[in-house]
């Protein structure tokens, strides 16, 4: 008798995600070409995207703030394997971008830039989808591209690595 070494048991579950009030505001902002965050009333940190709470203080963030589409690369990597979820072919640059006025860096693609030119502290700006294609999704920001500005000093983003 031969041993059963594997069985196939297909499982599929579908979910309807609830963004929540705060993230919903952010996503609606994306559809308007705006980046909306929320400020903690205690520590004054600005979270983008907001989840409705300050994770450090554990209090609701109710104060909405619009932040700039310009920011600083805090850390990055060059990806050389294809991604199931990103539409860009490899190699491509992933980065954490700290937007001016925000206290939480967020994940972004960097394009219009040679790979060996990407660096920590590099100043970048958001490139938005054409107005007709703006939608309540992160993908309304197509990618970030370099700004012709001097690099940000390490001290300005070292708390956000």
């Amino acid at each position: 008798m031969s041993a059963v070494t594997s069985i196939l048991t297909p499982i599929r579950l579908d979910y309807t995600y609830t963004a929540g009030r705060a993230t919903q505001r952010f996503l609606l902002g994306m559809a308007e070409g705006r980046i909306l965050g929320q400020r903690c009333p205690q520590c004054t940190k600005v979270y983008v995207p907001p989840r409705g709470a300050c994770p450090q203080c554990g209090v609701p963030t109710t104060d909405e703030v619009e932040v700039s589409g310009k920011g600083t690369v805090t850390t990055f990597c060059i990806v050389r394997i294809p991604s199931d979820v990103l539409s860009v072919p490899p190699p491509f640059t992933c980065a954490h971008v700290l937007l001016d006025g925000a206290d939480l860096p967020f994940f972004a693609l960097i394009q219009e830039c040679e790979f060996d030119a990407v660096r920590m502290g590099m100043r970048v700006e958001a490139v938005w989808a054409p107005p007709a294609e703006l939608a309540p999704t992160f993908e309304s920001i197509r990618y970030f591209r370099p700004l012709d500005e001097p690099d940000a000093a390490y001290e300005t983003y070292k708390e956000h690595l």
Partner: protein, 353 residues
Amino acid sequence: MARREVAIVGFAQSASVRRETALNEVEMLMPILGEAKAQAGLRGPEIGFTVSGSCDYLAGQPFAFVSALDAVGAWPPIAESHVEMDGAWALYEAWVKLQTGEADSALVYAFGKSSMGDLPEVLTLQLDPYTAAPLWPDAIALAALQARAYLEKTGRSERDLAAVAVRSRRAAAANPKAQVRTTADVETLLATPYLASPLRAHDCPPISDGCAALVLACGEAVRRSAMPPVWIRGIDHRIEAHALGVRDLAASPSTRLAGEKAGATPGGVDLAELHAPFTHQELILRDALGLGADVDVNPSGGALAANPMMVAGLIRIGEAAARLAAGAGRRALAHATSGPCLQQNLVCVLERD
């Protein structure tokens, strides 16, 4: 080592609703955590231990419980833990932590938004993944197997089950947090069609979104509370086999044993909150715990009236404590269950000074 006396000093819960579409889990939890801490008279940084109960399968996201920590405020770093179980088991972990003397207070919370997925199918994944889950028996079908076994063994009837639902709904009518608050008589309920024979809709719990939080304290920390302390005099939990076929589904030996170990002597309590999502399960639990007609069972309406997954067990403990604190009795029993067909059971005995 002498046992430390642990008190429940704060409890808050959201209203249970069929579908919470506006708020995410963090937004649901924050006001509830704030309310429980305020009752306890403790600010976040003063709390020695934090522990939650939830299930990532409900959210459909790995590590959803870590995201929920945004609601707590985890900086400077806090001592924190999580159980992938009903919050009643998180409370048990907190109680053990307080016994070690490493903390004098603990925040316990639980959340569940069942509405995001197909709950009966999500619950199927609790089963043995090789021989049971691939057949996709859902939670209602499994409960119906248990109900049939119980009715056959005891000679009780579907009318007895309906009577449980009627009493539960009547009690829930006075509970603003409950979800099923429409009263009905036995005849009306028995005229409705089966969902899975012998169970009808009224024999089954609603699908609920909700959350709850509870604060425990020892020693000096107890005195800060605005709520009269309710003491945990005994707590124990027991588990039965995973495979449904090897269990006697018509009885709950794990509940009986947990009750004995927790000191829940028959006739010794004024009220009981039993986590019985199905009508027949309340009867099985009453049998296992020897609860007579003199005990006020599920004055909140119980899980038949509001059943946020991973939360409804913790709510039983909080409801029992809140009722004792309000003067509804001196001694109460609270029970929580987890797993299919009452697989795991926790019993705690609560007392007011």
